[in-house]
């Protein structure tokens, strides 16, 4: 690809009545490819008002989740060639969250759900052994695929249940974290955590369509974690 036709979602609530798309022609580098974040930066060189969020540029901080030709992902670890159709690429903010400006969304509804699941180890038993709380390697293995989440919100904002009910459905990212602590043998709040989730919305609004799993840029499986929570709920039933 020699040049990319990049179309960016633009909206400044202080100036614009409604959102619109702006088009930019981006010269590709010698390899004919680049990361989507670099294409957006090149657009910003042409128009300094283009606004987006990013920090690490290595898929670690989770701050540059966007929707690229209809698919959520992290712009810094997504190659243009993976998402462009021909030489066209449309980049929009993550769906379902309020837009602050251009590609930047207000993550508050997402973090509110994260806060609800108490994403920290809760154990008030005194440690008298003189060392940290131990786990067997098998118990520790259960946390693999759960703790690596970078909270990019790509999963929750690809989930129709979260779009419809962002205040009541906890969403795949926060449920993955809920299960991360439910599955942790060092945590002592398993029953309370499950009880808090046992209503019509928090977990059961997930219908297992697995959009979340198919978009997670870290290759995690929130849908599986949600099913594990449902199994645990049925055990205490």
């Amino acid at each position: 690809m020699k040049e990319l036709h990049l179309s960016l979602y633009r909206f400044d609530p202080e100036k614009d009545q409604r959102p619109y798309m702006s088009d930019y022609v981006i010269e590709m580098n010698d390899s004919g490819n680049m990361m989507v974040i670099d294409a957006i930066r090149k657009a910003q060189e042409q128009d300094s008002t283009v606004t987006f969020r990013r920090s690490c540029a290595q898929g670690v901080c989770g701050s540059d989740g966007v929707n690229m030709n209809g698919q959520n992902g992290l712009a810094c670890i997504t190659a243009v060639s993976d998402v462009a159709i021909g030489n066209k690429l449309e980049v929009r903010p993550l769906p379902g969250l309020p837009v602050i400006k251009d590609l930047i969304v207000d993550m508050k509804p997402f973090y509110d759900q994260y806060e609800k699941v108490k994403p920290f180890l809760d154990n008030d038993e005194e440690v008298t052994t003189g060392h940290e709380r131990l786990q067997s390697p098998k118990e520790r293995d259960r946390l693999d695929g759960l703790y690596e989440c970078v909270l990019c919100a790509c999963c929750s904002t690809s989930c129709p249940s979260f779009w419809w009910n962002p205040e009541k459905f906890v969403g795949p990212a926060a449920l993955l974290q809920a299960y991360r602590f439910i599955a942790d043998t060092r945590d002592k709040q398993k029953a309370q955590r499950l009880k808090k989730l046992d209503d019509a919305f928090s977990v059961y609004r997930c219908h297992g369509i697995m959009n979340c799993t198919s978009v997670c840029p870290k290759g995690l499986n929130p849908s599986k974690a949600i099913n594990e929570i449902k199994k645990e709920l049925r055990k205490i039933g």
């Binding site: 419809w164 449902k230 709920l233 049925r234 039933g237």
Partner: protein, 119 residues
């Protein structure tokens, strides 16, 4: 509560499926097309009446859980707002109309069922 509803919804689905299968299989296996008397004695039997009543309750329960999900998902202020912000102001009215419609369907079906079949 969520888990209880999860169980009830699946249980009602099992009842509905069993009833439909039972009626369909009976229809093909028994000589209903030859003798209307066999048909009427079958459906007037007490066990079939109990099964039918259970089926009706399961249908209501299953349907209402599904319709409640439709109402919560598609008739909320937020969702209607995706289509039109003006219409979204009337979401409560849409919900009331939807509920009245569902309640009427339930009442009429129950009335017809009780009057024409059970009594």
């Amino acid at each position: 509560m969520g888990t209880l509803f999860w169980y009830l919804q699946r249980l009602s689905a099992v009842v509905i499926l069993s009833y439909v299968l039972y009626v369909a299989i009976s229809f093909f296996v028994k000589p209903y097309n030859i003798s209307a008397a066999i048909w009427s004695s079958d459906i007037d039997g007490i066990s079939f009446k109990i099964f039918s009543t259970l089926f009706l309750f399961s249908m209501f329960f299953h349907g209402i859980v599904g319709l409640k999900a439709v109402e919560d998902d598609y008739l909320s202020k937020r969702t209607i707002g995706f289509v039109s912000s003006t219409l979204s102001e009337f979401s409560l009215i849409f919900r009331i109309i939807f509920r009245v419609f569902v309640a009427m369907v339930v009442l009429v079906t129950t009335y017809v069922f009780v009057l024409n079949y059970l009594v």
